[in-house]
Symmetry: C2
DNA sequence: GGCGGTCTCTACCCTGCGGTAGAGGCTCCG
DNA sequence: CGGAGCCTCTACCGCAGGGTAGAGACCGCC
């Protein structure tokens, strides 16, 4: 198995959990998407445990590349954030599973074995939302190119302003356009990301690292 | 001058900037509110450069204590977040000035000298908002006990749900009350914090550390 | 040239949110 | 006991926000 996470401690933690199992072995670790792709090609692991948020190449892009070959490794995406946009994107990118980081260690191990066997697995909460989505006769997952990558420059700009707490009228003033135009961008952006409102967009901005709390991380 | 910030690097940075000035001297550093109060009493600096967000006793409480004595030091509050609630609180706590961390070094030095001389100073953006507020015939600053401290337990709970991206109806379902009740709490909470809408509340939740991004801080 | 994507704007609709006011029941505390 | 604070609910209002549709202008690319 290959562990991919930009935080060394997290990586080590997962590796320790996995290595304690007799039937599972960590064959490598990577701190970013590019190294992950390279290592996956070199070590040919059965499974890659992939974090989404990483500097440089993100986990979704790496997943796309790793799962491109017909007989490539299976990828289990592990994230701390469960917005729909991520789930859809991960599955579209070729992931075999999607787990949240608050999962129990046993769940993680089970998921790894399930994915290794070729089956798919999703976190319970994620599964329920997907079911709800389809039950409501919702159209197939919104097309997203990559967490935030699918947005146009203007849309990303608007997203930043949203996440700064600005109202549409204020964003319009800041950009020198009409509020109608801002609404168009907001709508496009929410649709692309699979979000409901600007609050979720704000959360995504923080959770995705687009915006980082400026205060101290201590406390 | 006394530098108070929980991040050692930030502290060192400010100290370096200040010490390079012939007319300014750093007489001490503190990493939390309690040490700041103690040091302020011991060193009797002219000015205290105070960060708001700190583990343990926060900067506002420390400011309150430090400025309590008639001839106590002047306090220049430096924050990375400019929500109205902080500004009002800081001024009510006895601060002589309020600067944002994205200020230029020269602005910081100027502010320090101005505050040391007994005058008050505010960041331009902050000043404009205060003027706007008063221009609109707005009542005196909302009474806030301390960033998030003034909220009732229920209100904090609602704030957490807001910052999780839930709509009022969903919060109501989660708490087992009517949406009307949730709206009451939301309204009370926004008013107490001096915020306009739930997006700003969400931002505050992140910036205040109430919620911490679950993703990696790298990137 | 034609096509696709982006940015811009307009118009309309409806819902959820935010603001205000009042009111009843509860607990804690002086 | 009486008051204060909190939680709860109701009702109403206005508006910003979100959904949908269409349309013109610009640019880069085939």
């Amino acid at each position: 198995m290959l562990v991919v996470d930009d935080q060394a401690v997290v990586r080590a933690g997962f590796a320790a959990i996995v290595d304690a199992e007799p039937d599972l072995t960590v064959v490598g670790e990577a701190g970013d998407g590019a190294s992950a792709v390279e290592l996956a090609g070199r070590e040919a692991p059965d499974v890659v445990l992939m974090d989404i948020r990483m500097p440089g190449m993100d986990g979704l892009t790496a997943t796309r590349l790793i799962t491109a070959p017909e007989s490539g490794p299976r990828v289990l995406v592990l994230t701390t954030f469960d917005l729909d946009a991520y789930v859809y994107e991960a599955l579209r990118a070729g992931a075999s599973g999607f787990l949240l980081k608050d999962a129990q260690p046993e769940e993680l191990l089970t998921a790894l074995r399930v994915v290794a066997s070729g089956d798919g697995i999703l976190a319970p909460a994620v599964t329920r939302r997907l079911i709800d989505t389809f039950a409501q006769g919702a159209p197939p997952p919104p097309v997203v190119t990559g967490a935030l990558g699918g947005l146009t420059p203007r849309e990303r700009e608007v997203l930043l302003h949203i996440a700064s707490g600005l109202a549409n009228a204020e964003i319009a003033a800041a950009l020198g356009v009409t509020t109608g135009t801002v609404k168009t961008h907001v709508n496009a952006l929410l649709t692309k990301l699979g979000l409901r409102d600007r609050v979720q967009a704000t959360i995504l901005a923080y959770e995705s690292g687009l915006i980082r709390p400026r205060g101290a991380p201590a406390g």
